[in-house]
Symmetry: C2
Subunit: 320 residues, 2 copies
């Protein structure tokens, strides 16, 4: 059975994992530990725990449990002192407090959710993302990086503080992989934070695994404004010392013009400017309309389709 290791954090990981879960492959998710926004940020502050949010999304994506258990994990409180927390985050953080180990907590929730595969924090050290912009603004924490509108004007450095050693299990996974999938996901908030952990860069350069980069559909205004596929590869390669990718997965389906206009405030469509043999360009868009549960109003979204994404990745796996 081929071993696929997915590296990232947040919704991007969720989409890739949910699709690949249905195939006969050995799956692992390596997850960024830099998140400090929302429910996760509050739990880090108040309980002193490691960030649960991205791990929760991966666990849910790989879950074979009942629909009820998945709804439970993703339930978000609306009111009062609990407002904003997702129940799955509370479960992970409480288990971390009770067991004294985040990895043990992840393992226990994995059992409760009957997950397929493994979810592995890239580091088990408590870290915060920092970014120093060209104009010397210091962005403290992933949340500030995520919200910044000035990253596209250039930055001097991005790093984790304190500089963390990698989780040895994460490095083992990278070394033993047949295929490594990086992306989609926030370039500076979900993908690069994994590469800033000591040991991850070397492992990625040394491993015999094939590497595929899944390019984002949309740029994020003020962050990757106007980025083309080549810019994503260049930016990632800066942190790896070289361009390591064997495959680049690109969407070539156009969303409706109206939808792109709606998105104008958030960012523009990523164009492809790379035309070598590594490019796999195909239709990867998901359903463009989604019901929002709370208010029952349809939202239009430009998102990867997890099924199509998994089909393309499996074509690569079959050629390994």
């Amino acid at each position: 059975m081929k071993k696929i290791v997915v590296i990232g954090g947040g919704t991007g990981n969720f989409t890739v994992l949910r699709g690949l879960k249905n195939y006969d492959v050995d799956l692992s998710a390596i997850v960024s530990m830099a998140d400090d926004g929302g429910s996760t940020g509050i739990l880090r502050d108040e309980l002193g725990v490691l960030p649960p949010g991205d791990v929760r999304q991966c666990l849910t994506a790989l879950s074979n449990s009942s629909r009820l258990m998945r709804s439970l994990m993703n339930y978000r409180f609306e009111n009062g002192g609990l407002g904003g927390h997702s129940f799955g985050n509370l479960l992970l953080s409480t288990l971390e407090k009770v067991t004294g180990s985040f990895e043990k907590a992840v393992e226990e929730v994995g059992k409760i959710l009957y997950i397929k595969g493994k979810v592995i924090p890239v580091t088990t050290h408590h870290v915060h993302l920092k970014m120093i912009l060209k104009d010397r603004t210091v962005l403290e924490g992933e949340k500030e990086v995520y919200l910044s509108q000035k990253i596209d004007q250039g930055y001097k450095s991005i790093f984790l503080e304190p500089y963390p050693k990698a989780n040895p299990r994460a490095l083992d996974e990278i070394h033993n992989a047949d295929l490594i999938v990086l992306g989609p996901g926030g370039l500076h908030t979900s993908l690069i934070p994994n590469l800033l952990v000591e040991g991850v860069r070397d492992a990625l350069v040394e491993t015999q695994a094939k590497k595929v980069f899944v390019v984002n559909l949309m740029n994020r205004k003020g962050q990757t404004t106007g980025y083309k596929v080549g810019d994503y590869i260049k930016e990632i390669s800066k942190f790896l010392g070289k361009d390591i990718f064997d495959y680049i997965l690109v969407n070539d389906e156009n969303p409706p013009e109206q939808l792109i206009e709606n998105y104008a405030e958030e960012g523009d469509l990523v164009e492809n400017d790379v035309h070598d043999e590594r490019i796999r360009a195909t239709a990867l868009l998901g359903a463009l309309q989604e019901m929002s549960k709370g208010d029952r109003i349809k939202r239009s979204l430009i998102r990867h389709d997890s099924k199509k994404l998994a089909e393309e990745l499996m074509k690569i796996v079959h050629h390994l």
Copy 2:
């Protein structure tokens, strides 16, 4: 297998159930739904759920799951917006929100905890306990009743608002029981609130089950000050229309004098003034010292021993 139904709420139920769990009996706990203090009160207010706290204690008492899962259920948050909540309460309340049914939530947590027996809310209606004192003070909610220091000066009425119908499952349990155990527990806060539910009184009077009353060890100052065993029976019988008890379990072991003095602010020892054939008087005290987890200081407590209590109850069961 004999069917034992334990009626009450809170720590009293926990003690009885934890002891009986180790015997080959068919166990059910019927739980008061009037709690509105602490974590439970906040969840009722903020989420509009039924009170989870007493049910959580019963579920934990009956659990055959790992020590880890039981620690998880009882974990109490200390800081911030989560401060005061126990994780088990959050689990029950979130499952109620996700499934739309408190009973379904209790069932699911029962599965997670591999409980022996059943935990049944006495009603599934949202109710609040009210008490009108002789001096016309109105106590709104179980928390106010619990904190009142004037109940022993007499009250005009105690009732649930709105007047709730019983959970039919609770009535079935009472009708099909071989033995019904009432107490120990807060007289006006944990025991009587069960008798105030429409249908419960009639079921208790009609059932062929033997009934045992487990008398509290200590009175609660300002509430049951100076109560003797006969006063407890009289007070309960007021709500049942008659004295229904076949057995009365009384502790006859004296705690150290020093400990009684320490308790003087909280209440006095319950003396036995009933001397008929129903009285079962024996040593029922638990270990008198307990380590408090947080500060590692020993606290001295006057508590029932769950093992001794179960042994006495099982002697009755063997005579049925």
